[in-house]
Amino acid sequence: MRYLPLTDADRRLMLERIGVNSVDDLFVDVPASARLPGPLPTLPKHLAEFEVERIIGGLAAKNLSAGACPSFLGAGAYRHHVPASVDQLLLRGEFLTSYTPYQPEVSQGTLQSLFEFQTQVALLTGMEVANASMYDGATACAEAVMMANRITRRGNALVSGGLHPHYREVIQTMADSTGFAVQALPPTISPVEEIAENIDQETACVVVQNPDFFGRLHDFSALAEICQSNGALLVVVVTEVVSLGLIKPPGAMGADIVVAEGQGIGNALGFGGPHVGLFACKEKYVRQMPGRLCGQTVDADGRRGYVLTLSTREQHIRREKATSNICTNSGLCALAFTIHLSLLGEEGLTRLAELNHAMASTFADMIAQVPGCRVLNESFFNEFTVELPFPAAALVDKMAKVPILAGVPASRLYPDNPELENLLLVAVTELNQIQEMETFVQLLKVWL
């Protein structure tokens, strides 16, 4: 067995020092009825490296990868180019195979990169502080709601219909399990949502998304003021982090907490995980934040260094009084984000964002020319919603046979909602090409 260094001679010698006859004797505390007589017969025996490659490679070959055909899928996960150097650096064993940096003297690599990550997230979102990551955007969002409950000592979350349905569902699960109330407004294609009207003295927070699930952009500045005057917090969600390269950040609109899905920078689609949740807020709320925080300090020789800090919020110190039960987070995905964003820098990110918007705008114009199709968005970043004259899922299935991954039918996330049945979410990134868009439009004309 290639991963196991002990030899039979080692084992004999070691058992002798321990003073037992066999490894089985070390399991003496396990009730005999629960000890298996030998390796489980219903599982295969060990395999050579190339045999494992054959099996998993075979499973991979049964899928249509998004890179093997034109793909216009978004809805919370975006296919962007990740520079080769990002993955090469992630594969360095010092990053890949280290633990949570609890021994800071030998973890400065992880800690400094987390400090850089927190700084980048704060800059992008326009917020004062950011933590060292959450599992993903959806869980970060639910944590933001629970944090708002703690801060306001209220227990009612008002959720926009423009919030990604997975995010809304995670909030609902946490509400049902932990005991707070959610008022979720229905998804609507109307450009105006009556959210402020629903705020009352029980509202702990208002959760909105920018761009929203249908791709539309919003200025939440006025809403932020209404929230403030009602003692509620404004939580702004961003599911496409690249948009922050071009669009006014939530911090500049007066958000109290900003959460985002960071996958779009540095991380593969990966069939939905692992991704990385970004979590930022106003500094005055820092002690109510969930998750790890990295802070600057000095060492015994006065040199600058970094440690995990304010851990009295966390489960390993505070136990049942912790702000969250989170322990493991998305460390390596956060590192990928940080390295990619370092490569992009100010110029790269703003140009990347502009390119995404330009390509999406071009495609939206092309689709709008197709008789029977309507682009619903007045505004968008790199994703917009198209209304078709028939169910969008049918078009997606037809296109998949070409193969083109045409977009996400709203019905995939909102089944049994006739109002949304014909809506297709179309996302465009720097990886899409004009000729793909032309093919898409030609097919659309034929099938409509």
Partner: protein
């Protein structure tokens, strides 16, 4: 500790540069940028009609500009300040720092798996769904449990899933139970999870043998108890001998048995939790099944469930019929589900790595994994118990627990001892956890260490113990000296939090 930042060793020497020779001082990325530099090239932007409705960002973000070689060097230099399992022995108890096979990394990057969008039509991702289903089969078979919930992102997330399912099951019976029992030695996530779900946590003390005190446990058991959360092997590295009796007692009062599966590595392939009476247990794929810890994540925390709890499993899950695999994603199709716990379908990247690990080992290899993990831990226990104080008599399971009685009156603490170990090139054991013994040192060698490595570690530990007892206190108080940085002032960090770089901030 030197709080004034006064140098306690010569710095600089005769070096002409400010780089401290091969020392590791590395400026922040924000201190290295130049506006005109960029590490990516992008094609020209075509003419387009702007659709931003006046919401274009005003002013600069403030990100530094660097070329690719600068970024590569920066993060390479940072990496060199990290200790890693690749580099040396990392016996961090409770964390299962085992070798991370590179085959798993290679397979997780296959475009047919890594480059899949989670919302592609299911007809285009049949292989991915089959992979999840196959991994689920392995997890169910290894635990003997009938069902497994896959989406959770980490152990604590799995705990939430399992305990929420228990809460839902109680609600379905029309019961509200308020209490959860958890041992004093439990991971912090257990009480944090139970409290988040609204339960009152009652702490179970350990008996003299480091296990649940059965009498106290039974006295606390009653109709108001929803569940017990128990780690087995427990965090003292001991198997809870009375686990079956505990399970029966829990079930007799209508409560549930949640097992924290963080220590599954000790028993994987040899003992099935189902045979011990478990109702729900999370499995940290990043521990037992060797997906890399990555400096703190990502992980994955599937939860195996009993038949009774299975119907409350979260969304989504994979099902198979004669047309192939599909996903149940919506509450309308799973009315009793606790709901969705994260975006999309789960930690696919971790699933691939864990499955590659399982296929590589097979049933015979996993049998050997738990056997060797337990053997290695007992070898350490046997080799150190004459110079250090073992908290409990052996045999232990996959980790050996010592306390600081052997350091009594030496002026050396567990922390000092750990820092001295850093100077010897080893990562310290887990310190001050579990909380049930004083100055705990929890050593988990895992099965992927050779006897030679263990012997080297044992020799160092024996030597350090002797140094402490012979009064060489300075060796410990000055430690570490060989690390990129020396002891860091954690009090300062917490008292005046600096959580990000700001322009003009002193270095």
């Amino acid at each position: 500790m030197n709080q004034q930042g006064r140098p306690t060793r010569p710095t600089g020497g005769n070096a002409i540069s400010t780089q401290n020779g091969h020392g590791m001082a590395e400026p922040l990325i924000f201190e290295q940028g130049q506006e005109e530099r960029c590490g990516v090239d992008l094609p020209p932007i075509p003419k387009f009609r702007e659709r931003l409705s006046g919401l274009r960002r005003e002013g600069a973000i403030g990100l530094p500009g660097l070329s690719e070689p600068q970024v590569v060097r920066h993060y390479t230099r940072l990496s060199q300040m990290n200790f890693s399992i690749d580099g040396n022995f990392y016996p961090l108890g409770s964390c299962t720092m085992k070798h991370n096979p590179r085959l798993n990394e290679k397979l997780a990057r296959l475009p047919g798996l890594a480059d899949l969008h989670p919302l592609q039509p299911v007809s285009t991702v049949q292989g991915a769904l089959e992979l999840i289903d196959l991994l689920a089969y392995w997890l169910k078979t290894l635990t003997g449990m009938p069902a497994v919930a896959m989406p959770q992102a980490a152990g604590a997330h799995g705990e939430f899933c399992g305990m929420a399912a228990i809460k839902a099951a109680l609600a379905a019976r029309g019961e509200t139970r308020t209490k959860v029992l958890a041992p004093e030695s439990a991971h912090g996530t257990n009480p944090a999870t139970a409290a988040a779900l609204g339960f009152v946590v009652e702490t179970l003390p350990a008996n003299a043998e480091g296990r649940v005190d059965l009498d106290v446990f039974k006295a606390k058991l009653g109709p108001d108890v929803a569940a017990i959360m128990l780690t087995n092997p427990n965090t003292c590295g001991l198997f809870e001998r009375d686990m079956i009796e505990i399970a029966e007692a829990v079930h007799a009062v209508g409560a549930y048995f949640y097992c924290d599966g963080a220590n599954f590595n000790a028993i994987v392939g040899r003992i099935r939790p189902a045979d011990l009476g478990v109702d729900a247990m999370h499995i940290n794929l990043h521990k037992t099944f060797s997906t890399p810890h990555g400096g703190g994540g990502p992980g994955a925390g599937p939860v195996v469930l009993s038949e009774e709890l299975a119907r409350f499993a979260p969304l989504p899950y994979v099902v198979r019929d004669d047309k192939g695999f599909s996903l149940v994603e919506h509450a309308k199709d799973a009315k009793e589900s606790i709901g969705r716990l994260k975006g999309f379908h789960g930690q696919m990247g971790m699933f691939i790595r864990a499955l590659a690990y399982m296929l590589s080992h097979g049933a015979d290899g996993l049998w050997q994994v738990s056997g060797d993990a337990v053997l290695n831990a007992n070898y350490i226990l046997a080799s150190l118990k004459d110079v250090m104080t073992a908290s409990y008599a052996g045999p232990c399971m996959h980790e050996a627990l010592f306390d600081d009685r052997f350091l009594k009156d030496t002026g050396v603490t567990t922390l000092d001892f750990a820092k001295a170990l850093l100077d010897e090139g080893f990562h310290p054991m887990t310190m001050y956890f579990p909380l049930v013994v004083h100055g705990a040192m929890l050593i988990e060698p895992t099965e992927t260490e050779s006897r030679e490595t263990l012997d080297g570690f044992i020799a160092v530990m024996r030597n350090l113990a002797e140094q402490a007892q012979s009064g060489n206190v300075e060796l410990f108080h000055e430690a570490p000296r060989q690390t990129p940085l020396r002891r860091l002032d954690e009090t300062l960090a917490a008292r005046r939090p600096v959580l990000k770089w700001t322009k003009g901030q002193p270095k």
